[in-house]
Symmetry: C2
Subunit: 419 residues, 2 copies
């Protein structure tokens, strides 16, 4: 399991100009999105760059829920700018876009598909050296500041996929809880659900010693290695924080303790799933996002329809964990208990139902849309949703329980309505 | 904070030849000690090197509890060998010696004192590139496979000190629980006490946001940053494993589950204290080891007198935590509870006594020598012990409660007899 460098504390962003000086950076690319470019987190970064006399250009054209086209736009900007360092200030959309821009600018002769995950892309290993990238997360969700993953929506195929390589992991993540204070309610909620699913999926993922085939050379180990004693520590710890603080963070923007804890939990869960992997909620979420029709979520200041990533993963979670519990029922029951279920008289064979019920109650309390139907899907869409899940093998094969197409169909169907 | 690269699993050592191939290594230095050179862990490494045709030389002259002289001997070997990679197979003594050999071979014009911690040495930052070092721990104690620290006994001054730099952190730690099976009882016990103290000290260390002065540039942050939300996770997790498994691991060499868990706990506590730091038990242990008279511990197959590191830290632990509890009583009480104390009716102001009692009972149950008197010290030695602690500022200043020379005297005196 590998390395993440993080720095935590209220206000630590003000040191970023010094960090860039220490890196010897002379032409810095600051990436963000249009909404954030007017908000305090970007301000804090720019103030520090100004204070330390760092020369920079801003790219604020990141698309919320990026696509291949929006990645390519950022890549063009990066190639032209000949930057020697990158700063990404934003949620997963910004950090992921910046990772891709850094990668392709460093590898100018590569085709876009070269590094995209197989089977959609060629999944080539990255052998070129990248420039330093400092990630400053402003949501409490993806943990992208700690992972070697960049996700985008492949418009042509109407499916999300990504790039996964240790090489694109940020050099440093600056976890400054002050940046969470400007997040509106639904962004706290949806990005928090992402943390919840990262923790639950990595904790229940196929154990590292049960993956097969075992790669013959350690260099060929996938980034996602299955659940293991190290990722378990991160996953459980993040889950405990989610249980204690997510509702508070959503309901009260002034609750700094809750928001700060969720900001850390996002990084912790990122370190966990960045090593162990995620499975069905994430695998099934990619077509749920990719096939979006007209859904426009509250609090997202954007002009296109989208299903926020955290919402797209959490809506199937009750069905998914009811399905996977057959394999590690104790872990599912333990998760339910952490999330508040009373398991004193629970039977181990009911672990899946108990966790599913606990999740449903959790979502209901937080006014989450009532299932896939509420965000615009119907039974008729299930074949397309299943078809979009099949190429997500990289994650779905980490499900502790193998799935047929019929199983996937049934999981989507069971997720149409939750309450 | 940085998290280390580790690989965990029974038998994973057999891949080490491939790892070295992947690193392109053509001249490998294998370091170990005379006792281990005949035991299964070294065998497993050599078999893998042979299988993958790796060219290597063995240095088995590592001193258990290394000194400046023994470091210098290993450094001479490394300089002569012009190696392009290192493998350390052993306990902290071997891994630390190998770190020093790698460092000084990469920096041939440096004086030995250049990199030694101030005020004893010059504490210069390391700017030369080192060769890859793979650490294969065979004790469950130091966590040296995850830290940037190398400790030795400075004979002239009769005091232990060390080298601390992220640059000497191993490239990879191979945590293979099979290597723990050959450890005799007292080595399991003493190295386990080291894990216990790493966890307790890093959990109770001065919080990261209370250190002063705050370095003006992040590049000047010390390796030991004080307790923080990330190191807390590792410290508590390691402490829980120690509570559950240390006694079992000591008493029953066949208890693979217990020994495997302690092997992981050692790395976990290493990640924790490697970022947060340790404080008084460690600061006071350096003169306890350095001033050793004639004590020869059971199970240590060596011909010089020595106080094993884990024993030297744990003997003062009851006195130390009774002293520090004034500052974070809740954390001390929480630690006592994890170690088995019933705290339902405990008063917070008794936290220190409760933790001290719990530790005394723990040590008594494990037949640990009855205090500093039992290993050859008397009241007359206290001034020398205090004098040897004063230069250990790098760690003692991380104590949550500041100490005068009188305080240190009283702590040594209280540690003369435990039961
Ligand atoms: N790389 C990974 O490891 C990883 C993991 C999970 C998800 N993802 C990807 O990350 C993306 C989702 O990222 P996200 O959930 O962080 O949200 P996001 O980056 O898509 O941002 C969502 C919205 O929140 C706004 N926003 C962000 N921070 C704000 C703040 N502090 N104050 C006010 N508004 C703020 C943004 O402007 C945007 O409108 C998806 O594309 C998803 O697939 C990546
Ligand atoms: N670098 C760090 O972060 C760090 C932290 C704490 C302590 N230390 C240092 O590490 C040293 C102590 O290391 P240690 O406690 O690991 O012990 P050690 O390396 O001194 O070994 C102790 C004895 O155990 C034997 N041994 C080791 N593994 C064995 C096995 N599997 N089977 C049989 N015998 C085995 C050795 O041959 C030796 O005789 C001290 O010098 C201490 O100061 C370093
Ligand atoms: Fe996610
Ligand atoms: Fe130690």
């Amino acid at each position: 399991m590998a390395i993440s460098n993080i720095r935590y504390g209220e206000g630590v962003t003000k040191e970023i100009g010094m960090d860039l000086q220490n890196l010897g950076a002379r032409r810095v690319c600051v990436m963000t999105d249009k909404n954030l470019s007017k908000l305090p987190p970007v301000n804090a970064v720019l103030n520090s760059l100004a204070k330390y006399g760092i020369n920079f250009q801003i790219y604020d054209n990141v698309r919320v829920e990026p696509t291949d086209q929006s990645f390519l736009d950022a890549i063009r900007f990066a190639k032209k700018g000949e930057f020697d360092a990158y700063v990404a200030v934003g949620g997963g959309s910004v950090i992921d876009t910046c990772k891709a821009a850094n990668l392709y600018a460093a590898s100018p002769t590569s085709e876009f598909l070269d590094y995209v995950n197989a089977p959609i892309g060629k999944g080539k290993p990255v052998t070129v050296p990248l420039k330093p990238l400092i990630a400053v997360p402003t949501t409490s969700g993806t943990g992208s500041e700690t992972t070697g993953v960049a996700i985008f929506d492949f418009k042509e195929l109407k499916v999300k996929t990504g790039i996964a390589s240790r090489a694109i992991k940020p050099t440093l993540g600056i976890i400054d809880p002050l940046h969470t204070l400007s997040m509106p309610e639904r962004i706290v909620a949806n990005s928090g659900f992402d943390v919840l699913c990262h923790a639950l999926e990595s904790y229940t993922a196929l154990p590292y010693n049960m993956r097969s085939p075992c790669p013959s050379n350690p260099i060929n180990r996938p980034a996602y290695q299955g659940s293991n004693p190290v990722s378990d520590v991160w996953a459980l710890h993040a889950l405990r924080i989610v249980a204690k603080y997510l509702k508070r963070a959503i309901r009260n923007p002034e609750d700094r303790e809750a928001r700060a804890n969720m900001h850390l939990a996002s990084a912790f869960a990122g370190i966990g799933f960045g090593n162990a992997g995620v499975h069905l909620c994430h695998g099934m979420s990619y077509p749920i996002s990719g096939l979006v029709k007209t859904y426009k979520p509250k609090d997202y200041n954007v002009d296109h329809s989208l299903v926020p990533h955290g919402l797209s993963v959490v809506l199937t979670s009750p069905a998914v964990f009811a399905f996977t519990a057959q394999i590690h029922p104790e872990r599912h029951l333990e998760a339910a208990e952490i999330l508040g279920a009373d398991i004193r008289t629970a039977r181990i064979k009911d672990a899946g139902f108990i966790l599913a019920d606990t999740l449903r109650k959790f979502l209901f309390d937080l006014n989450v849309d009532d299932g896939l139907a509420a965000i615009g899907y119907s039974k008729a869409d299930i074949p397309a949703l299943v078809k979009g899940t099949l190429p997500q093998e990289r994650v779905t094969k980490l499900s502790p329980r193998p799935q047929t197409e019929e199983d996937l169909s049934a999981l989507f169907e069971a997720s149409m309505k939750l309450y």
